[in-house]
Amino acid sequence: MKKLLTLLFFSLFISSAFAKDCSSEAEKGMNSYQNGQYEQAIDFWKTCTDQGIEHPDLFYNLGNAYFRLGRLGFAIFYYESAHRLNPSDKDIIHNLKHAKSLTKDKVKEAEENPILASIYALHHLISLKGELLIVIGLIWLIAAILLFKVISKSPRNKNICIGAIFILSIFLGIITLSAGYKIFVLETETKGVVTATSADVTSAPHDRSQTLNILSEGTVFKVLSIGNGWVEIQLGEKIKGFVKTTEVGIIDDLL
């Protein structure tokens, strides 16, 4: 046991010794932002991201600085990155929504089934972290009730325990499914944002191909594949094609 504790302490010490720290750059960026020097603030904060530091507040602040400079595409790109790391932060959600309201492109969504829409709303009622904490809590609760059932000698108590476990198991199943789907989406779905003033959506990944649509700065799309300087994208039901990687930002690239 002593050996195990020593090993744990040593590993913690090593990890803290090599932990990346850019507190001074972050602080300088904050001061520059407050003085209205947004480009300078971006330079300081980018020093942190270049060191591999990924933090929702850092991305959020970068999004704010780009927004102040009128670079809507980059602003939405960093807000989306921050939102991916911390989906429950209300400031990130607010700024992302505000920035998206200023984009030019209106994406026509498919008509929503009211039942599916309600299920979708319930699915997003609790954040992923909240759902995972509930799952842990439920598992501990079920284990405790099972133990109580073992201890208890009264058949009535045992029956009550069985009923409670049944109901809690249903809750556990539903919340596990919801959390599992969220993790699946997080792990498999990649988003992209148009960071240039506009981006041509072409029918094939080369310059000679037909331009199908032109996306405006800040438009968010689903990334299907990436390769050879082109990104295969999908937007809504109708828009599907290729855009140049130089004109867009891939949100998963940061994470």
Partner: protein, 632 residues
């Protein structure tokens, strides 16, 4: 048509020219295009009539090789003379070039005309090979003169020729012209849009690219004044012009206004269409010429503009950044009021600088007044070819206390490009007299929200992003919760924990349900209790109680270890039972001996039992009991 020095045999030439040019003008009109095939037939008929007339009159005439002469294209002008009229002494005819026509060569050929009856005359054609000018419109060549019998005759002063645009070229041209060649940074100027349509223009004009770049603040016109009028001297071309936009540059230097693009439809080049018909075993082929509508694009040329920076000398410290001709007015609606009443400051700034943008003036300190968000109204009107921007601001002030307040003057400055100087206007100062109002008014002023006040929705004045977050503890990696070790530990710990606890509980239950086992586990404890009471009795110098406790402890210990009741057994029965428990004979003897000693001592006289003996016996019992642990 002006004619001079006509030869006797050229008397009718002018008449023939009139016939010809009337026909040519008809062909050039818009009606000709749609009925091309019919007119083609008519052309041959008219030429026939012309030639018939020539043969009857036998005089000079002129014709062209093409019905339509296009800009920059080669064509032939032919002078036809009956051979019988040719003088023996003659030179080649001469045609003077003008209006951009280029003479390439002169050729001649003899041929014969034929009339309806098969008669005809022999004619000579003098062929002037020319190239049309690159411009479109009505032009002329000439004079056409001929030296015959040593005398110069002028056949025609000028021969009018209508130059058309090629069907393959654009049918619409557009241009943007700024009203100033150089402007100051922030100074307003306008762009004039000029459009000209040509013969083959059809319509459906749509502006596809009207971006004016990021270097300018722009106000675009609705182009309602864009009305097309015929171009003077042209029967087919139309033109129009209107102000397209008003702009103000945001920075100095050489700036470029990008071209604007329009889409429209035009008639394409004529194409010969061949159609085959068969009816009743007969087949026939018809050829016709058709022109299809095609979509085309036109764009203006980019404009380069020199933008001057504002002079640094004499620039006010608090320069507003406005450039143009501005007017500034500021006034309070009253100079005397009571506490509780509102004082309104009306500010109106009007000028022809940046369209739709006017900065606010620097206001004095209103700390003696409570203020509410001001009302701002900005409007744009077009007057005298300029966009006039008017900004009206209403500031509502509520005095906090009574007294006389002097509000200092308010100034506003701008740069006037026509005078090339900075100008400043000021209003004020004002003296405001505040009287003590009624009690109700004071209450309204001092108490922010009385109970009786009807509450209203909080007005949203604007939207913006939320402020940045502090970055005090940014770590190298912010993992998702489900990727952390504590999550998985917390998730799976309950399962082994439950299994362990459940196993423990079951084992415990099993243990407490076995009486023999329970007695064995409690044997040592009971022995200690009994030995303790024996020791107490020894300390109290009570040998009988001591030996009774000692005997009880030994028998109780044996009973607990073997789960058999030794109490009440005789010593012989006890020996047999212990032998059945496979206890060594020596230990059985020791037990018997000790029990014997206890029994003897209990009934022996007190004086015969010494303390040392008691201690010795106690030690023997303890030693024996520890040796009997094997029975467990």
């Amino acid at each position: 048509m002006k004619k001079t020095n006509k030869a006797p045999f050229f008397n009718k030439a002018a008449i023939y020219f009139d016939y010809f040019f009337t026909f040519f003008r008809y062909k050039s009109s818009g009606l000709f295009d749609q009925k091309f095939v019919i007119l083609k037939t008519m052309k041959h008929f008219l030429l026939f009539c012309l030639l018939f007339t020539i043969s009857a009159g036998a005089r000079v005439s002129i014709e062209f090789d093409k019905d339509r002469i296009e800009a920059g294209a080669p064509f032939e002008l032919r002078m036809i003379v009956p051979i019988q009229e040719l003088a023996e002494q003659r030179e080649t005819p001469r045609l003077m070039m003008r209006d951009g026509f280029v003479f390439r060569a002169l050729d001649s050929m003899d041929t014969r005309t034929a009339d309806f009856f098969g008669h005809g005359i022999r004619i000579r054609k003098y062929i002037f090979k020319l190239t049309a000018p690159k411009k479109v419109g009505s032009f002329s060549v000439g004079p056409l003169s001929w030296k015959v019998n040593d005398k110069e005759y002028e056949l025609a002063d000028r021969i009018p020729i209508e130059i058309k645009k090629s069907f393959n070229e654009g049918a619409l041209s557009l241009s943007l012209t700024p009203n100033k060649k150089s402007v100051y940074e922030g100074e307003q100027f306008s762009l004039l849009l000029s459009m000209r349509t040509y013969e083959h223009f059809e319509g459906n004009v749509a502006f596809t690219g009207t971006e004016l770049g990021n270097d300018f603040i722009a106000h675009r016109s609705d182009l309602k004044d864009l009305k097309f009028q015929p171009v003077p001297g042209s029967r087919t071309d139309m033109e129009s012009s209107a102000r397209f936009a008003w702009l103000a540059p945001m920075k100095s230097g050489v700036l470029t206004i990008p071209p604007i693009q329009v889409k429209y439809t035009k008639r394409g080049a004529p194409k010969v269409v061949e159609k085959n018909h068969s009816f009743g075993g007969f087949s026939s082929t018809f050829k016709s010429i058709s022109q299809e509508s095609v979509e085309a694009e036109a764009q203006s040329a980019p404009i380069t503009l020199k933008v001057l920076s504002l002079p640094a000398s004499l620039r006010p410290v608090d320069f507003t950044g406005m450039v143009g001709n501005y007017s500034f007015e500021a006034a309070f609606d009253k100079s005397e009021l009571s506490i509780g009443e509102a004082l309104t400051l009306n500010i109106t700034i009007k000028g022809d600088g940046k369209p739709g943008t006017i900065t606010d003036p620097k206001l004095p300190d209103f700390s003696d007044f409570r203020s509410v968000p001001p009302e701002n109204t900005t409007s744009k009107t077009i007057r005298s070819g300029k966009v006039i921007t008017t900004k009206t601001t209403k500031i509502f002030l509520y005095p906090k206390k009574r007294g006389t307040f002097v509000i200092p003057e308010i100034t506003y400055n701008w740069f006037n490009p026509s005078k090339k100087a900075y100008e400043t206007a000021s209003q004020g100062p004002w003296e405001i007299q505040v009287e003590k109002g009624s009690e109700e008014d004071i209450a309204t002023t001092t108490v922010p929200v009385p109970v009786t006040v009807q509450k209203q929705e909080i007005e949203t004045l604007g939207q913006d992003i939320r402020f940045i977050h502090p970055l005090n503890h940014i770590s190298s990696k912010a993992h998702a919760f489900y990727k952390t070790i504590p999550f998985w530990v917390l998730l799976f710990t309950p399962i082994p924990l439950y299994l362990l606890l459940a196993a423990f509980i079951r084992s415990h239950r099993k243990h407490i349900s076995n009486g023999a086992l329970m007695r064995k586990s409690k044997a040592q404890k009971n022995l200690k209790q009994q030995l303790q009471s024996a020791k107490t009795a020894m300390q109290k110098n009570d040998p009988r109680a001591f030996y009774a406790s000692l005997e009880k402890s030994l028998i109780g210990f044996l009973s607990d270890l073997t789960n058999l009741e030794f109490q009440g057994m005789t010593r012989e029965q006890m020996k047999e039972t212990l032998q059945k428990q496979n206890l060594p004979e020596t230990q059985i003897q020791q037990i018997d001996s000790l029990l014997e000693k206890c029994s003897s001592a209990r009934f022996a006289p007190l004086s015969s039992i010494s303390m040392e003996v008691n201690q010795e016996v106690l030690k023997q019992v303890e030693k024996l009991c520890s040796a009997l642990e094997v029975l467990k």
